[in-house]
């Protein structure tokens, strides 16, 4: 008898939830783990200062977020997706096919830093050296061979006589994608043979430039950047790759290496002088504006000067803001819900 009523209760619960799914009063955000710290900070502030519920933010990765976002219109699908790269043409096509009109909001920049423990000497690297240290295949005397470098000073005598040991993110990470694209590709292009290959056979070039060595000199240290920092502290010879906000928070323990002569500082990333930085975005589903309450207000909150401006609270979280003029233009286009076209 008891079991009978329990089963009934369970079914009733199911039925209730099915109706609940049809009306949603809470914004749902998915997407990049890099944008996650910023998006959540805005969500919390938004929940506190308005009468709307605090949006739910999920960290699914840029690609996973866009997939969910583009799967359709309706309250079962997310309203906003964060991305640490621009939406791809193929993703945009999927979105359009599903009847979705997108508004793109560029929120700022994120630097990827190469850092080591404060107890050892700071490194001064170039993209070319980074490529030589981390690529699976490198050109030696004009021939593409398996990476022979085991010590940093084998690449360049100015570098320390230490074993190459780099802790970095796994292939599923957006940080890894950006690092490979910005640092490795940038370095590969510096080789004449590879630059020529890029012109003749783009695919082969990408395979070489994006291939990271698997012989133990590059260690996949998981998605958790705090863990990488702990390991760097314990091992002064190791070098780590992660987002700028973690360097910002842990400046007493680790130091960023200069890349092509530019230090990873707030100013140099904002000005574009520091070469390994990327833009961060979020995308809004216009069909949901007015259906799920608060979306327009959320965009308003995100793009206000007190949030992403020079004195905004996102700066404390490590966001590197857009230049003032870009912010103004972006605010106008995003609050006006300008549709994205590609």
């Amino acid at each position: 008898m008891i079991k009978h009523s329990l089963a009934v209760a369970a079914i009733a619960g199911l039925a209730l939830s099915a109706t609940a799914a049809h009306a949603r009063d809470q914004i749902r955000i998915v997407g990049s783990s890099t944008v996650f710290p910023f998006s959540t900070a805005v969500a919390e502030q938004f929940g506190k200062t308005t009468d709307f519920k605090t949006p739910v933010v999920e960290s699914t990765g840029s690609g996973g977020g866009l997939k969910l976002f583009c799967s359709g219109v309706g309250v079962g699908h997310p309203d906003i997706t964060n991305s640490s790269r621009r939406i791809k043409a193929s993703e945009f096509e999927n979105c359009t096919k599903a009847g979705i009109t997108i508004t793109e909001v560029k929120i700022g920049y994120d630097g990827i830093v190469i850092a080591n423990s404060k107890t050892s000497n700071p490194l001064s690297l170039t993209k070319k050296q980074l490529f030589q240290a981390l690529a699976k295949k490198v050109p030696v005397n004009g021939e593409l061979v398996d990476n022979p470098y085991k010590m940093w000073n084998e690449i360049d005598p100015s570098l320390p006589a230490k074993k190459i040991e780099v802790l970095g993110p796994p292939p599923t990470s957006g940080t890894r994608d950006a690092f490979v694209e910005l640092a490795m590709e940038g370095g590969a292009k510096k080789f004449e043979s590879l630059a020529a290959m890029r012109k003749s056979d783009k695919k082969a070039f990408t395979a070489v430039a994006h291939g990271i060595r698997e012989d133990g000199h590059y260690v996949e240290a998981g998605e958790n950047d705090n863990l990488i920092i702990q390991k760097l502290e314990a091992n002064p010879d190791a070098v780590g790759i992660f987002g700028f906000s973690f360097l910002d928070q842990n400046a007493d323990k680790i130091q960023g290496s200069t890349i092509d002569g530019a230090e990873p500082t707030f100013e140099k990333i904002a000005s574009g002088e520091y070469g390994v930085s990327r833009s961060l975005f979020f995308y809004v589903k216009q069909e949901h504006v007015g259906v799920v309450p608060g979306i327009a207000e959320f965009v308003e909150e995100f793009t206000s000067e007190g949030t992403w401006g020079e004195d905004g609270y996102l700066l404390d979280k490590g966001l590197i803001p857009l230049p003032a003029a870009d912010r103004k233009a972006m605010r106008a286009s995003s609050t006006g819900m300008a549709p994205l076209s590609m």
Binding site: A9, A18, F36, G76
Partner: protein, 434 residues
């Protein structure tokens, strides 16, 4: 004869039994030693784990507060003087809190400096003042000494996580901050208090405002759904399979499948939940209802296996005696066998629930790994779970989340220890041996 005995003595070998005995004892002593080493290695890692968690996390249970001399100006809070709650709620408490702190440091006038000064105070100071006024409107028009939360950075500094000795550029607390902090300490305006927020608040991006209550509620909503679904289904299938089902190839197949299901990686159940509950039935993402259903699938095999073992342990004489005095098969089971097997079944269920409490992988797929501030109020509200909260905090850049992570692990461990203790207690008190 003599020849024979002589040859017998010839083939007699030296008596080695003493030596062999010694070797056997030595082997036994060695084996015991290995066993002891294994036990101590296991204990040692456990102690190490607990030590690192507790030493990292115990500081999270305290939080530093700053005392402010707050003047609750009537003109500012309630210009109409009607004490209308709507008006009281909307007053600019942020401004009041900030100006109160600035008043304590009249020498700080430059705009950037003033910002840095107010940054020592948590962003939740306005909330503290608002609650104070809402609870007791009589404070309006008076000046009160109010303790508000300090920022996470001041808190870390006071707890010694940020050292004064490192160069200024490398710490988040600057030299001028330290001057202010020293002044506050000298005036007795900084105090460490028990961190109630940690147990009453939901998640937050500000470490000093973050709490574990939202995740705890989410975990228990989920666990409730899990038990409501998996306990009756599990026990019923166990009773049927054990007491009623004929032994044939089909029941063998079912048994093999249940045993296999118990070993399926939990992420697979998450994928199933995504495909069936979310995509097919259209249930909401991040809901404890769906989480509970997925975890129920995961704990079902555990419960079935435990319940069957408990039923099997009831001696057949009990069933036969019941049947012998004229009870039906159903009566024999429900009146005699099931009550006797219950302690074992419950133990298995609790262990299954404890396993479900610590699970994150299947929740990843159904959107429960998310930043959720509001405390869930029902089964379809967005919620997260304790282990997910630990994971999210461990991945946050803010330094102060390190201690929160360890503290949350302690809370989760406490729940698990309690559940296991209940299981042991049930077994000790009610289990019968034949």
């Amino acid at each position: 004869m003599t020849e024979m005995s002589a040859s017998a003595t010839q083939i007699q070998r030296p008596d080695l039994s003493g030596k062999r005995l010694k070797r056997r004892y030595a082997a036994e002593a060695r084996f015991r030693l290995y066993g002891l080493i294994a036990v101590f290695a296991a204990l040692g890692t456990l102690v190490l784990l607990l030590f690192s968690i507790i030493s990292n996390g115990y500081t999270a249970f305290a939080q530093h507060h700053i005392a402010l001399e707050v003047t609750f100006d009537e003109a500012e809070i309630d210009p109409t003087g009607e004490r209308d709650p709507q008006v009281l709620r909307r007053a600019n408490y942020q401004g009041i809190a900030r100006s109160s702190l600035r008043n304590a440091f009249p020498e700080v006038t430059e705009r950037r400096e003033r910002r840095a000064l107010t940054a020592l105070m948590s962003g939740s100071a306005d909330q503290t003042l608002r609650e104070l006024v809402m609870a007791n409107p009589d404070v309006i028009g008076t000046t009160q000494r109010v303790w508000v939360k300090a920022s996470d950075e001041l808190d870390s500094f006071m707890k010694g996580h940020i050292s004064r000795d490192v160069p200024e550029s490398d710490r988040r607390i600057k030299d001028r901050d330290i001057v202010w902090i020293d002044q506050l300490i000298a005036a007795g305006n900084i105090e460490s208090q028990f961190n109630t927020t940690f147990f009453t608040a939901g998640d937050s991006r500000e470490p000093e405002q973050a709490g574990i209550w939202g995740a705890t509620v989410g975990s228990f909503l989920m666990l409730f759904v899990t038990l409501v679904l998996s306990f009756p289904i599990g026990v019923l299938s166990a009773i049927y399979l054990e007491e009623f089902a004929p032994k044939n190839r089909w029941t063998d197949l079912i048994e093999v499948n249940i045993n296999n299901l118990a070993a399926v990686p939990s992420i697979v159940f998450g994928l199933l939940g995504l495909a069936v509950f979310l995509n097919f039935f259209g249930l909401p993402r991040s809901a404890p209802l769906v989480g509970g259903m997925v975890l129920a699938l995961m704990t079902l095999p555990t419960i079935i296996i435990a319940a069957r073992a408990a039923l099997k342990a009831v001696p057949p004489s009990i069933r036969e005696a019941a049947l012998g005095v004229g009870a039906s098969k159903l009566q024999a089971v429900t009146h005699h066998v099931l009550p006797l097997a219950m302690p074992g079944i419950l133990t298995g269920t609790i262990l299954g629930a404890a396993q479900a409490l610590g699970e994150t992988a299947p929740l990843l797929m159904i959107g429960m790994v998310a930043f959720i501030v509001d405390i869930p109020g029902g089964f379809t509200d967005s919620a997260t779970a304790l282990p997910v909260q630990i994971y999210l905090w461990a991945d946050s850049p803010e330094r102060a989340f390190v201690e929160k992570t360890s503290a949350a692990i302690m809370v989760l461990l406490a729940f698990l220890v309690v559940m296991n203790a209940v299981a042991v207690l049930l077994r000790k008190r009610f289990e019968r041996r034949w």
